[in-house]
Symmetry: C2
Subunit: 557 residues, 2 copies
């Protein structure tokens, strides 16, 4: 394992570079380690059966005595979802904003970890001091309250991590603290790590105020029931739908476990205010006319098990969609979800509902800043060195171009890979090595027990299924005493492929018999012979390549 | 099977409705059947291992004596790809435009069908007469030459099928025959079937002339090698790249089997003109400086085995991408492909190449008309009845709204499902029944031998793999003589899961032994007991649900 030697100040990522997800950044000054965020990533289609991907924590485990704390920028899963997995390995104090802290507490309770970890609330004007470094914070605007940028103050200079941010001059919640950001810039930024998600998008992102106007207009116009689909993570968005429903005297039904929780926490913390008797249970809907009901639900990304998908499939126990319903998608498709979303829109339309999505109305805006906002951050902070974070490669690259336009020379910008260590002194910055930062797969209870072989097997199985040949051999008489039997799953209809399977069985019989006669009693070579004979035959006959699994059982007479 | 009785005029689709792909439409007048197009569809991710999807041809097979011919609107796979599969069932004459006919001939040669089928070339002014109906054609603009709309003239009235179309007033190839379309409208259109692909897109699609300008500008500016990625099906697009390369004296390398064929056919038919010595082999590239080379290749949709993907992965034998290369994506992502395309852009950027795609430049336009073009077609043709085709449900629905804006009353428009029969007389139209139109899956050599059970198995296998328990039982002594052995694929690393697999094996042993002692010698119930015991145990321990396959071999002592 690579370790960092002879370094004073170093920065690296364990996740979040060349990807959207599992954000985890590390700032080291001498003997002190500061961790920023601990996220998960949701797997793509090629990771068959995997539930989440988390970073490799090896370096942190091996250096746990030096860790001063985990600092959380905001409470989204790609920034806090990894916390239970991390805490199972090392017990470290966590610092987070009010809302994120509440979400983390619920997570810890679920995993039986609550009470075992020190939790501290971040406040903008309360610096957290350690021996060598000190941590300061500045408020940012994102799609969730209590989002912070983090400043790691070191004797060499300030390391600034923006968290996820946009600039919204007419936001729903708090505005970013422009004046504090400007002050930090005046004080001097040695290295900036900044959110690159929308670095390819020209201009300035739409204000949440525009969305607010659309919601007001729509709710005023619509006469039937409204189904408002959005993310449980976007508190400002569902807050707006709730606020307008309250004005229009609609009763509110919340569907989806994560959304129910988010609304509850939002109420507890005072971000969301709902008058008594306004929030109703699904079963109470029948007591009110359609035009007095707003349903807020999850599933705007086409998630298979979410409320909206079940409504579209007519599988929802409480809501059946009809021609008086309007479904609003207050979201835009994440790449990879377009097909599922379109399918849900099709099904809802078929049921007669009117469907409104971001292409038809100003009903969604991103929580991440576009190019002019990224340039505003760069201009306010004027960093000496720059590391674009939170983005796929082309986004990081584009962000470096923007930084260059704002005066950061190309040789002061570093597109890092996860794990690559950027070491710095007063004048220089250089990549000096790396720590392990491979993705770790979580599948059910298993963490890291799934590797490329298992995934490759799942891919083969998914494409053409499996074909087993079974044979029992008497080791004493060197004869086949049972089989060959051929069993398939996911390959062909067994019933209708009798001839093919018969031929395969005969081929196995011939191969094994002649091997046994030749004295070959080594099962591994026997299995190889079977695969070598039937694989090509199956491909010739079917143009398919199922996984072939020859099985030999042995008995002694 | 449903048949159409007592009908004079009927229209239905065997594919193409509520989907993009496998277009196949049928017009019947009394005893004459006209088929329009015979396409395939490429499967979505949920169709594990399936190569193509084709329509159910049962109705056509059962009524083959009445079929007068298959008329092809244009030569794209979703309109001609199904021809070999159809011709294996019924031998019918095919009518197609010049380019489509050439592509069909190559297809027939590949499948050993050439010479066995009557082929006729469509010409715009040559009506094809049958006893009751006659077929007329009008030129349209699409992304490929020789695209036609088709008019089925019947005693009740004209049925018009637009094919895929846009209106481009500064096209690269032929302009749509506006005057003939207007004349057909004047003569009267009883029922219009019109392309709905872009019915959700406002305005008028960008002209191919704009793309031409961008290509000219880019090729003039760029100093290094140019890699131009597009579709083999978009002859006008690669023609433009070729034309500009010829002007700029770049040598041209064509990569990708389908593209090489398309360029050859384009040259044979005179659509593409390349001076001698301009087209070179990949191996000759090294003889020329980078700024004298244009590579045209496939793979702009992120296709895994296409030339571009291999370049991005540094797996291409002849082309290695570097910092002097510019890669142009002359395409826009089809939903579902965004992630693969982004990944390729990331890899190309990492290799140092400049990447230009449709978000950054006017480098792609659709071959399908947007709302104003659809309205122009509706206005020119003024149909009595309207059936939106070639689109997913929400597109068909939107198209009906557009038709309404153009004067077609809602009750004269019909959103059909594949298979639904729209029967018409002089004054009325009505859905009267349906023919089988389920999707048929092609997997390797197998057509229709894959059904929901096999697909469900592939899905289970893809998610958590398979776990086999093997046991050999002596039928005479009622004892286990070999096993239980536990084998897994795609479930866990077998090496590192020894304890789990041991426990499973012990559970199987206990279950089988006690069943045998109780006298249960019925293998099926024994297998069920095994699954019932180990399934819940595995889920409890791993939170995974692999396919469980208990196998019992028997011997007699």
């Amino acid at each position: 394992m690579t370790t960092i030697k002879n370094r004073d100040l170093a920065v690296f990522a364990l996740g979040g570079l060349d990807e959207i997800g599992k954000n985890m950044y590390v700032v080291e000054y001498k003997k002190e380690i500061i961790i920023i965020d601990s996220g998960i990533k949701f797997p793509g289609d090629e990771l068959f059966g995997i539930d989440y991907v988390i970073p490799n924590y090896t370096y942190l485990i091996e250096n746990k005595e030096r860790i001063k704390g985990l600092f959380i920028t905001h409470g989204h899963e790609d920034h806090i979802g990894g916390i239970p997995f991390l805490l199972k390995e090392i017990n470290i104090p966590i610092y987070a904003g009010k809302l994120a802290l509440e979400l983390i507490k619920e997570k810890l309770k679920e995993h039986g970890l609550f009470g075992k970890v020190k939790l501290y609330e971040i406040e903008e004007n309360k610096v957290v001091p350690f021996k060598e470094v000190a941590i300061d914070f500045f408020k940012t605007t994102h799609s969730t309250p209590d989002s912070y940028g983090i400043v790691v103050k070191t004797p060499i200079g300030n390391i600034v991590h923006t968290g996820d941010f946009k600039f919204d001059l007419t936001p729903i919640g708090n505005m970013a603290n422009l004046s504090k950001i400007a002050d930090i810039g005046k004080e001097g930024v040695h290295c900036l790590l900044s959110d690159s998600t929308n670095s390819e998008i020209p201009g300035f992102s739409m204000s949440e105020m525009e969305i607010s106007k659309s919601i007001h207009e729509l709710f005023n116009q619509l006469t039937g029931r409204i189904i408002f689909a959005t993310f449980a993570s976007n508190m400002y968005r569902f807050k707006q739908a709730i606020d307008v429903a309250v004005i229009n005297k609609r009763k509110i039904v919340v569907l989806g476990r994560s959304l129910v929780r988010a609304v509850r926490i939002g109420q507890e913390l005072g971000y969301i205010k709902i008058p008594d008797d306004t929030l109703i249970n699904p079963s109470e809907m029948r007591n009110y006319p359609d035009d007095k009901i707003l349903i807020i639900c999850t599933g705007s990304q086409g998630e298979q098990f979410a409320a909206l998908s079940r409504m579209a499939d007519k599988r929802h126990p409480q809501v059946s969609i009809g021609k008086d319903d309007t479904v609003i998608f207050s979201s835009s498709p994440i790449p990879g979800n377009a097909i599922s979303i379109n399918r849900i829109i099709d099904k809802l339309s078929r049921s007669g509902a009117r469907v409104i999505h971001h292409k038809l109305r100003k009903i969604h805006t991103s929580g991440h800043g576009a190019q002019e906002e990224l340039k505003l951050m760069l201009t306010l902070l004027k960093p000496t060195f720059f590391v674009p974070i939170h983005g796929e490669y082309r986004m990081l690259k584009k962000h470096v171009d923007l930084a260059n336009e704002c005066g950061v020379p190309y040789d002061h910008s570093f597109i890092l890979d996860n794990g690559q260590i950027l070491e710095m002194n007063q004048d220089h910055a250089k990549v000096t090595g790396s720590v392990p930062a491979n993705p770790v797969y979580v599948d059910g209870q298993g963490i890291g027990d799934i590797g490329t072989i298992v995934l490759r097997d799942r891919k083969t199985l998914s494409g053409s299924g499996i074909l087993l040949t079974l044979i029992t051999i008497d080791k004493t008489t060197k004869t086949i005493v049972s089989g060959p039997e051929v069993i398939t799953r996911g390959f062909v209809f067994m019933r209708e492929s009798g001839e093919l399977l018969n031929n395969i069985s005969n081929l196995v019989d011939k191969t094994v018999t002649s091997s046994l006669q030749a004295g070959d009693m080594k099962w591994s070579s026997l299995k190889n012979s079977i695969s070598d004979v039937i694989g090509p035959y199956i491909y010739k006959e079917t143009k398919r390549k199922p996984m072939i699994l020859p099985i030999i059982m042995e008995v002694r007479s």
